[in-house]
């Protein structure tokens, strides 16, 4: 909700700045709304492009670009190659965000508790029900764990954050993959659902023994109690900007089509295991080439000059070589830059 409010406020502020600038419209991801809002504000004065972005949710954003009612769509979940071809779309990532695991265990401070992917899956499957379970104690030698019951909390509304989290659990646990799977909303085996990032944070805070997940930017700004996670190299890492950036840098972007990379569980001693890029969808047969050119110009400006703004909002900018690859891929879309 805070994100949405911020986006509205930013949108209103931007509206007064440049009236005769070229205006582009976009819709979709709420996760990326704060950064697009800030970029829009800055780009309006810098390159004269006025962005009108509606944070309606990834699914709705994909619907809108399929119907061509906006100039670009934004999705947290990469769109499948067949769907891209069917609707004549090209896809590129813009920024990266991490997902944190948050807990409420009296006496345990941020990043003291260590968890692994399989443990997290078993907790959300309801197989581990007490915090002093042997399996948790094994990876946390020396930490005094209470016997409190574990209360899992998840996003009740369809959300890209849920996709990243459940995708990670599917990688870590065959049982999770088979029983639940990965999507923007899934059939949760147990626990309570809360609406929005703020709902999950508040619910976890209210229940002793609670565990949930949140975008790292939200967790950081609200000083939530995060946990360490074990990464693919077997090292325990805390959710920091450095760990998120390491994971993005260690990923092999060259192998995937349409940039549809899965950043979960990347190799590297420093890498944070749960994170994802957010994507933009652009028509390859634009009604108005001038509009597509403006969209490209906007994101080109964001890549070149917007990295500081992104970092300030706790997003991780794309690695430079990936940004260059995106610029090359843009050639598939008519309309120069």
């Amino acid at each position: 909700m805070k994100f949405a409010l911020a986006a509205v406020a930013i949108g209103l502020a931007g509206f007064t700045v440049a009236a005769q600038a070229q205006s582009i419209t976009g819709a979709g991801s709420t996760f990326a709304a704060p950064i697009y809002g800030k970029w829009g504000e800055a780009a309006a004065t810098a390159v004269g492009i006025q962005l009108n972005y509606q944070a309606v949710g990834s699914g709705a954003g994909i619907n809108q670009i399929n119907n061509r009612t906006v100039d670009f769509g934004a999705s947290d979940m990469p769109v499948k190659a067949e769907a891209l071809a069917e609707h004549k779309l090209m896809q590129f990532p813009t920024v990266i965000g991490g997902v944190d695991v948050i807990i409420n265990l009296p006496g345990i401070k941020a990043n003291e508790l260590k968890l692994t992917g399989p443990l997290l899956a078993d907790i959300y499957l309801g197989k581990i029900t007490k915090w002093n379970d042997k399996a948790i104690a094994e990876v946390n030698p020396g930490l005094k764990l209470p016997s409190t019951a574990i209360a899992t909390v998840h996003r009740a509304d369809g959300s890209g954050t849920t996709f990243v989290f459940t995708d990670y659990l599917s990688m870590q646990s065959a049982e999770w993959k088979e029983k639940v799977g990965a999507s923007t909303s899934v059939s949760w085996p147990n626990g309570a659902g809360a609406k929005g990032s703020d709902g999950v944070a508040a619910t976890v805070r209210q229940i002793p023994g609670g565990i949930g997940y949140n975008e790292s930017a939200y967790a950081e700004q609200n000083h939530l109690t995060t946990t360490m996670m074990r990464n693919a190299d077997g090292k325990f890492v805390a959710p920091t900007m450095e760990a998120f950036a390491a994971s993005a840098a260690n990923a092999d972007w060259s192998k995937v089509q349409n940039f549809a990379i899965d950043l979960n569980d990347q190799k590297g001693a420093e890498s944070w295991p749960i994170e994802s890029a957010t994507f933009v969808l652009l028509p390859t047969d634009p009604k108005d080439e001038k509009q597509s050119a403006a969209v490209k110009k906007f994101f080109d400006w964001g890549f070149t000059h917007g990295n500081d703004i992104a970092a300030k909002l706790l997003y991780i900018p794309l690695p430079a070589k990936v940004q260059d690859a995106v610029r090359t891929a843009w050639k598939a879309v008519p309309g120069g830059m």
């Binding site: 369809g158 309570a192 609406k195």
Partner: protein, 320 residues
């Protein structure tokens, strides 16, 4: 003489054609038909949108308790259960409370207190539902999870039936909390209606009863209640309808999970809440979107059934 002439002139002008009348008649007829068209097209579009889901899942859609967006298996069972359960529970709590408020306001309250309490009831009815949702989430839910639910769970532990009704981890959210919030939301509606109709009872009826030596309670039971019975039922049904369709406030406190459990403290969802939560992430043409539209249609049908029941309850009065 002059008066008669004036009278003639005026009656003459009255018999002339006046375009206002047919225009007004046409406009009011159009308004009436517009309502029918609007309702018809709403129901039709929900039904047409829901056809793929009805066709794919058949009648089982109504009873299936699975809601799995990954495997694309959808059922309305949990949502229908949650919708009806929260609405009925809230009615059980709200009707006696609203009756108490209305009874106090019309019969017992001193004159100087009637206005402030009456205005407070009306103000409560005007509070937007999102405010109730936030208040419920940040104030009521912590109270429930820390004090009310653990106490009730301990209290009824070992008592048959009740120990199943009040069980499970005290999340604070759930069917019971949702019903509580709904109660607070519908009480003003029902209380305001009851108060208004209680006041329509002719004073001479009540005075005669008092004259015969009736107590206040006897007057209420034997004079006021029968006289206003149908209107009171109408007010209750109004509240019930609101409880069935309430979205935002319920979404905040019901816990939103697709499971049915015997415990009133367990999380659930309602038709309105699941549509509000899942709609933004439902791609056009997907089975999920169709299932959500089908759910909307089912909610329409449930509301219609409630309305039909209240109409039949009102019928005896119409004959008199």
């Amino acid at each position: 003489m002059q008066q008669a002439a004036a009278l003639n002139a005026s009656s003459g002008s009255r018999s002339k054609f006046r375009p206002g009348d047919p225009i007004f008649a046409a406009l009011s007829r159009a308004s009436g038909i517009f309502v029918l068209l609007l309702l018809g097209s709403l129901i039709l579009s929900l039904f047409v949108g829901g056809i793929p889901a009805f066709r794919h899942f058949g009648l089982g859609f109504l009873f299936s308790t699975t809601w799995d967006p990954v495997k694309e298996i959808f059922g309305a069972g949990v949502s229908i259960y949650g919708t009806v359960m929260t609405a009925v529970l809230s009615m059980i709590l709200a009707v006696p409370l609203a009756f108490g408020i209305a009874f106090y306001l019309t019969e017992l309250a001193p004159a100087w207190l009637k206005r402030p309490v009456g205005i407070a009831v009306e103000l409560l009815a005007a509070v937007p539902s999102i405010i109730y949702g936030m208040w419920g989430f940040f104030v009521i839910v912590p109270l429930m999870s820390q004090y009310v639910e653990p106490t009730l769970i301990d209290l009824f532990d070992g008592v048959p039936v009740l120990e199943d009704l009040f069980a499970g981890p005290p999340f604070g959210t759930g069917i019971f909390t949702a019903a509580l919030i709904l109660t607070v939301m519908v009480v003003p509606f029902i209380a305001a209606t009851m108060r208004d109709v209680f006041e329509t009872v002719p004073p001479v009826f009540k005075e005669s009863a008092y004259g015969l030596g009736c107590t206040t309670w006897e007057v209420m039971r034997s004079i006021v209640a029968p006289y206003t019975r149908t209107s009171v039922i109408g007010g209750i049904m109004l509240g019930f309808g609101r409880a069935l369709g309430e979205t935002m406030a319920v979404t905040f406190v019901i816990g939103n999970s697709a499971h049915i459990s015997a415990s009133l403290f367990s999380s659930g969802n309602t038709i309105a809440s699941i549509v509000a939560l899942e709609f933004p992430e439902s791609p056009a043409g997907s089975l999920k979107l169709s299932s959500l539209l089908a759910l909307g249609f089912i909610l329409f049908v449930i509301s219609f059934i409630v309305l039909a029941i209240s109409r039949t309850l009102l019928r005896p009065k119409l004959k008199v």
